[in-house]
């Protein structure tokens, strides 16, 4: 399956993913059978109890961890079983990440944090700098681009992280509770920004959140329960 000859290309395809961790008390089966397809520009939300394995799932979908079994493809390209270096180069081009705790490099300014992501993806600073400035302006930080993360508020840090996730024009953004560390109003702002940016850039989004309001704004709502993904209808929630 190649990304070019399909009319609605699948950005992400996961087939019967399972993950178990080795623990002193025997294996812990976090994911048992996860099947998920995300098409271009689509927004999917995932909810689930704490400890249900949402972060683990996002990490596997993003290639940061490996499934115990199952198949994973990005843009129609099989990636399970490939080397870490291969996954890294693909990740830089296809994927954007947003984390609950921002994960900015503390030694770099807002602008440099955004540029770093582009440079890791192999672009030159010259080409990227205007783009990074523009993205930072779009998240409302044009006046704070030279500030270090320690000089920014949580909401501002997450805005920088949004700009960073978008700098390489990814096909898919994986967001793991992006508003988890923020107060309600700031969370609302960030979520609106994330959804708008994803829509306007045509980027698919997999959003993990505890907040049902946010989750409902997605085109597809899924729940992670007992290691499997199920849709809202099956669980009776809405």
């Amino acid at each position: 399956m190649s990304p070019d000859n399909s009319s609605t290309p699948l950005v992400l395809q996961a087939e019967s993913l399972a993950k178990s961790f080795k623990t002193p008390r025997g294996p812990l089966d976090v994911l048992t059978n996860v099947t998920l397809s995300v098409s271009a520009g689509e927004c999917v939300s995932i909810r689930g109890e704490s400890g249900s394995g949402k972060t683990t799932l996002l990490q596997i979908l993003g290639g940061l961890d490996r499934a115990s079994s199952g198949e994973l493809s990005w843009n129609g390209e099989q990636v399970s079983g490939r080397s870490n270096a291969f996954l890294a180069t693909r990740r830089a081009r296809w994927l954007g990440y947003v984390f609950q705790s921002y994960h900015l490099v503390p030694e770099l300014s807002a602008l440099e944090n955004v540029i770093l992501a582009a440079r890791i993806a192999g672009q030159s600073t010259k080409v990227t700098t205007p783009k990074a400035r523009e993205l930072l302006a779009r998240v409302g930080l044009e006046h704070r681009i030279q500030h270090l993360p320690s000089q920014l508020s949580g909401g501002e840090c997450q805005r920088v992280a949004l700009a960073r996730a978008l700098i390489n024009k990814p096909r898919l953004i994986l967001a793991d509770e992006p508003t988890g560390n923020l107060d309600e109003r700031t969370g609302e702002d960030i979520m609106a920004l994330l959804l708008n940016l994803a829509k306007s850039e045509g980027v698919a989004l997999v959003l993990v959140t505890h907040n049902s309001d946010f989750a409902r704004r997605a085109e597809r709502q899924l729940f992670l329960r007992r290691g499997e993904l199920c849709s809202a209808l099956e669980t009776g929630e809405s």
């Binding site: 972060t55 990490q59 940061l64 270096a85 990740r91 830089a92 770099l108 890791i120 270090l148």
Partner: protein
């Protein structure tokens, strides 16, 4: 090259004093300084000794296994015509006896018959003469070492009665012997080598031939200097192939092999010692580096998430070790030059001037740089620092990104 950019930023974070970089770089700089100062001082002393040996002996000496070299002026001309030869001078080496007031007061010392015109072209004798001058030397006069003068209890203008062991041998056989010769002391020299100053004297070639019963135009040896002193060994080797069996050429390095080996050995042992010290230092810097890397576990996870390949993560941290090595070496180099520039003042402050003069006969602390020392130290520190960062870097690069991101330290 983003790994370099990130490495630089992590080593020198903006708007914050770079404690980690400061301590590591200073540590390396101190190690480099210690290594280079010790090596250069050792090198300077060795080189100074070598220069003095060359000055005293010439660069290559032609010896004979016979009593003397006959028709020496012909040999001289032949040698002087060889390519690479700068100056040639014959000399006579032997021992003299001074018989004092009482019969059992007999003192031996070496004497060297020299050609007053040619000798200064090979050995800078005039440089070492403290009283009188080489020009005062004639067939009835002698120049002696300063310490020998003290031993003999003589001063300028004193006369000493000398005899050669050759005459004594004749007298034992009951043959008719020449009367002892009376020589006037016309100069003192001081080379700084106690041995030479206590046991050597200079007379003219003619006086020496007369004393030791040698025919005209003969000498015991010929020494020479070369246009390129470094060629001494190969020149001697080449010459030996052409010389008759009863003559051989010896380079200065061979003549003083034992002494030169001792100096070389000393330098090597000190290098080994300093190397161990540097190694110990690099272990401590290695452990600092390790905690520096461990503190950045979450960033390592992040870089992975952004698509940084493991090899690039390795680069980020190895570059930091490399930078510490390079900067530490650079600062160490500066400190080394600074310390060596003020070497005289430092020795004075330490009160070691007297020892230097007495034990080494150096009026000032000599300074001879050896570029090899600097290259060795540079390679050593930069490689060691990069290696010290290699282990934490490999650790970082192999870290599973999912676990690195969950890290809470």
């Amino acid at each position: 090259m983003w790994p370099f950019f990130l490495a630089r930023k992590q080593l020198f974070p903006p708007r914050r004093f770079p404690v980690f970089a400061f301590i590591s770089i200073l540590g390396v700089a101190c190690g480099v300084t210690a290594l280079l100062v010790v090596q250069t001082v050792m090198n300077s002393f060795g080189e100074e000794h070598r220069i003095r040996i060359r000055e005293a002996d010439g660069e290559v000496t032609l010896h004979t296994s016979n009593k003397f070299i006959p028709d020496v002026s012909k040999v001289e001309v032949g040698i002087a015509a060889l390519p690479g030869v700068k100056a040639v001078s014959p000399y006579i080496n032997n021992v003299l006896v001074v018989i004092g007031e009482s019969e059992d007061d007999i003192r031996f010392f070496g004497t060297r018959g020299i050609d007053i015109d040619k000798e200064p072209t090979v050995t800078p004798l005039a440089k070492y003469i403290e009283y009188g001058s080489l020009n005062d030397l004639d067939d009835d006069r002698i120049i002696i070492g300063k310490r020998l003068a003290i031993r003999l209890g003589v001063r300028i203008g004193s006369r000493i009665t000398v005899q050669s062991p050759y005459e004594i041998a004749h007298s034992i056989k009951g043959e008719k012997i020449k009367l002892p010769r009376e020589l006037e002391i016309c100069g003192f020299f001081s080379t700084g080598f106690a041995d030479a100053d206590e046991n050597t004297s200079f007379v003219t070639m003619r006086t020496a031939r007369d004393l030791f019963g040698m025919p005209p135009d003969s000498a015991s040896a010929i020494h020479l200097t070369l246009r390129d002193p470094a060629q001494a060994e190969s020149f001697a080797e080449e010459l030996n192939r052409r010389l008759p069996l009863n003559m051989f050429a010896e380079p200065w390095t061979e003549a003083r092999r034992a002494f030169l080996d001792a100096i070389g050995m000393e330098k090597q042992m000190l290098f080994l010692l300093m190397f161990i010290i540097t190694l110990v230092a690099s272990f401590s810097i290695g452990s600092t580096l390790f905690s520096h890397v461990v503190r950045r576990t979450r960033e390592i996870g992040l870089i992975s998430a952004l698509g940084g390949a493991p090899s690039k993560i390795l680069q980020v941290f190895m570059t930091q070790g490399f930078l510490i090595g390079i900067l530490g070496y650079g600062i160490g180099l500066g400190l080394t030059f600074l310390i060596l520039h003020f070497r005289q003042q430092i020795v004075t402050l330490m009160g070691a001037e007297a020892t230097l003069l007495k034990q080494y006969r150096f009026e000032t602390v000599p300074l001879h740089y050896d570029s090899n020392d600097f290259i060795k130290a540079a390679v050593l520190t930069i490689v060691l620092m990069t290696l010290a960062s290699l282990i934490p870097s490999i650790w970082a690069a192999r870290r599973k990104p999912s676990e690195a991101m969950r890290d809470v330290t």
